[in-house]
C-alpha cells in the first residue's frame, strides 16, 4: 500500500467514524463539532483524489462557514445543550438498517461503475483552480451567474424572516 493509499484510508476512516459520532452523540453541539471533523476528513479525501480546489472549498465553505451557520442555528433555539437522552428514539434500528442498505447499494453501484478507473493526478491538473476557472468562466457562465441570484434570494428571504421590529434601524418614509 502506498503512502497516499494509506492516508486515504486514514481520512476515510476518520470521516466515517466521526460521521457515526455525529448521529450518535447525545449532545447537539458535539454533533456539530464532530461534523467539522467529518467534513475536514472528506476535504482530505478530495485532496488525495486530486480534487484540489474542491478540497479547499470544502474547508473554506463547509468547515468554515456552514458549520458556523449550523452552530448559530443551534444557538437560536431554546433547546438545552447538555446530554439529551431523548435524541435517540426507538427508530434507530430501522434508521441504521436503512442507512446500511443505502450505503451498501451506493457502494455497489460506485464500485461497479468505477471499479477499474485510473486517474493520474500528476499529469493533468484536473482539479486545480485554473481548470475550474476555465470551466466556470467559459462553459458554466450561466449557472454560475444564476448561483448569485440564488444567494440573493436566500439572503432576502433570511432577512424577511428574521428582521425584528420594523422600527429597529428601518428608515422611516
Amino acid at each position: 500500500m502506498s503512502v497516499v493509499g494509506l492516508l486515504f484510508l486514514l481520512m476515510g476512516a476518520m470521516a466515517v467514524g466521526s460521521a457515526l459520532l455525529v448521529v450518535t452523540t447525545a449532545r447537539l453541539v458535539h454533533s456539530a463539532l464532530w461534523l467539522v471533523v467529518t467534513l475536514g476528513a472528506l476535504a482530505g479525501c478530495y485532496l488525495l483524489l486530486g480534487a484540489e480546489f474542491v478540497a479547499w472549498v470544502q474547508i473554506l465553505i463547509y468547515v468554515g462557514a456552514v458549520v458556523v451557520l449550523l452552530l448559530f442555528a443551534l444557538m437560536l433555539t431554546r433547546a438545552p445543550t447538555g446530554v439529551q437522552t431523548g435524541l435517540t428514539t426507538g427508530n434507530r434500528v430501522v434508521a441504521a438498517a436503512t442507512a446500511g442498505v443505502v450505503g451498501l447499494v451506493l457502494v455497489t453501484v460506485v464500485v461497479a461503475g468505477f471499479g477499474g478507473a485510473r486517474v493520474s493526478v500528476d499529469e493533468e491538473s484536473v482539479g486545480s483552480a485554473t481548470s475550474m476557472g476555465d470551466a466556470i468562466f467559459r462553459h458554466w457562465v450561466l449557472p454560475f451567474e444564476v448561483l448569485s441570484v440564488l444567494l440573493l434570494a436566500a439572503l432576502v428571504g433570511a432577512i424577511v424572516l428574521s428582521r425584528g421590529r420594523a422600527s429597529s434601524g428601518e428608515e422611516t418614509p
Binding site: L106, E124, S131, D134, P173
Partner: protein, 540 residues
Amino acid sequence: MIAVHGSVLAQEIEIESPNIAYSAIYPILIVFGVALVGVLVEAFAPRPRRYVVQTVLAAAGLGLAFVGTVLVAGDLPETQNGLARGGIEAEGALAVDGPTLFIWGAILLLSFFSVLLFAERRLESGVTAFAGQAAALPGTEAEREASTRGLEHTEVFPLMLFAVGGMMLFPASNDLLTMFVALEVLSFPLYLLCGLARRRRLLSQEAAVKYFLLGAFASGFFLYGIALVYGYAGTVTLAGIDGAITNRVGGDGLLLAGIGLMAVGLLFKIGAAPFHAWTPDVYQGAPTAVTGFMAACTKVAAFGALLRVFYVAFGGAQWNWMPMMWIVAALTMGVGCVLTLTQTDVKRMLAYSSIAHAGFLLTGFVGVQAATRDSDDMTSLVAVMFYLLAYGFTTLGAFAVVTVVRDSSGEATHLSRWAGLGKQSPVLAGVFALFMLAFLGLPATSGFMAKWAVFTSAWAGDAQLLVIIAVLASVITAFVYIRVIVLMFFADPVGEGPTVAMPSVLTVVTIAAGVVVTVALGVAPQPVLDLAHQAGEFVR
C-alpha cells in the same frame, strides 16, 4: 465535468470568450433583472409606495418577458429536418426551442395572473394576504403591532420573480448542472413564500418547514442522481448522456440508479405518488395565492424538465425507466383520486386533485409518442404541454375563488362552510362549478380536451392499460367534484353560511382569465394545439 471540460477546452481553444446569445434568452434576463430592481425598490423606496411600485414592476416585467418570449418564438430556426425549432444557447447551458418557449409562455401568463392574486388587498381590508412581519411570533404583541401599523412584506414580489426565473430555467436546462441550479432557484423562494401567510400563521409556517425539509431531501436525491449519471456518461450535457446511452459506454447499474434518483427529485416537485405526501399540507398551509401559483407554475416547470431529461437524455434507455414510470403514474392517479374523496377542506381537496392530475399528465408522458415529419399525430409533448396550460389556468382560477369565500377568521376553507354558496352568490358558485367540471373533464371545458389529448397520445403510445386506469380514476373523482357542486347549489347553509367577500379587480381578472381559458380551450382548442404542434420536438 472538470476532466471532460479540460479535454473539450483543449480542442476548442480558439473560442476565446463565452458566447451568450442574449437575443434568445432575454426573457429570463428580464425576469431576473426585474427581480433585482424589486430588491432595490425594497431597499430605497418609501414604505407607502412600495406596494404599488412592486406590483406594477412585477406585472410589467412578466408581461414584457411574455412579449419577449413571443418575439423569440417568432424567429426560431428549424433544425433536425424540421422536427424541431430552436438551438442550444449560453454555452450549452440552455436549450431555447419550441417546447421551451411554449412552457415559458405558459409560466409567464400564469405567473402574471398569480401576481394579481398576490397583490389582492381588499379581501384583508387594505393589506395583502402575506404576513405583516414574518419575524413576529404568532399571537404576540409584536404581531398585533405589525397588524395595527398595516405592515406588509412587499418582498414577496421579487421573491416570486426569482421563483419564476428559476421555473423558466428549469425546463430549458440543457445540462444537469444548470438544471440543478434552476431547481434550487425555483424552490427556495417558494419555501419562503409558503410560510408568509397573514392568517393561520402556525399552519403556514409548518407548511413551509415541511416543504423545505422534504424539498431539500428531494434536491439531495436529484443531485446524487446527477452524480451517478455523470459517473456513467462522463458528461452532464443531455446530448452527451444520450450519446453515452446509445453507445452503451458503461455499466447499467450506475445509469439506472442515477435515473431513479433523479426521478425522485423531479417527481417530488410534480407531486406524484409516492412522493406526494407534502402536497396537501403545503397547499393547505401556504397563502392561497402562493398555493395557486405553485399548483399552476411549478407543475408546468417541473413537467417541462421531466419531459426534457427523460426524452432527450434518457430516451435511449426508455425501456429501463418505462416500468417505473408506469407504476408511478398508476399509483399517483390511484392515491390522488381515492384520497380526494375523503377531504373536507377545499384546499386539501384541490391538492389531492392536483396529485390526480399529475397522474393524468404522467399517463401522457409515459405513452411516449414521438413526432414524425409532416404528421398531425398527437405527440406526448403536445398533449402534456396543452394539458399543463389548461390545468394551470383552471387550478389558478379555483384557488382564486377559494380566497374569496370567507368568514370572520379569514378564508372559509372547510367544505361544510361552502354549503349553500350557490344561493348566496350564484355567479361565484357557478364559476367554481365550472372549474370542478373542468377538473372532471366534462366536454366543452378545457379539462376534456386536455384529457382527450393526453389519453390519445398515451393510447397510441401503447399505454392502453394506463389509459383505462386513468379513465376509471376520472370517474372516481367525478364523485368528488359533483359532490362539491351539489353542496354549493342544493345544500342548506350551516349556521350563518359563507360570505363572499367582494374582491378588487385584481382577483376578479384572475378568476375571469381562468374562466375564459377554461371555456376557450374547451370549445376551440385548435389554435393552442396548433401552437404546441408548431413548437415541435426538443432540440438535442
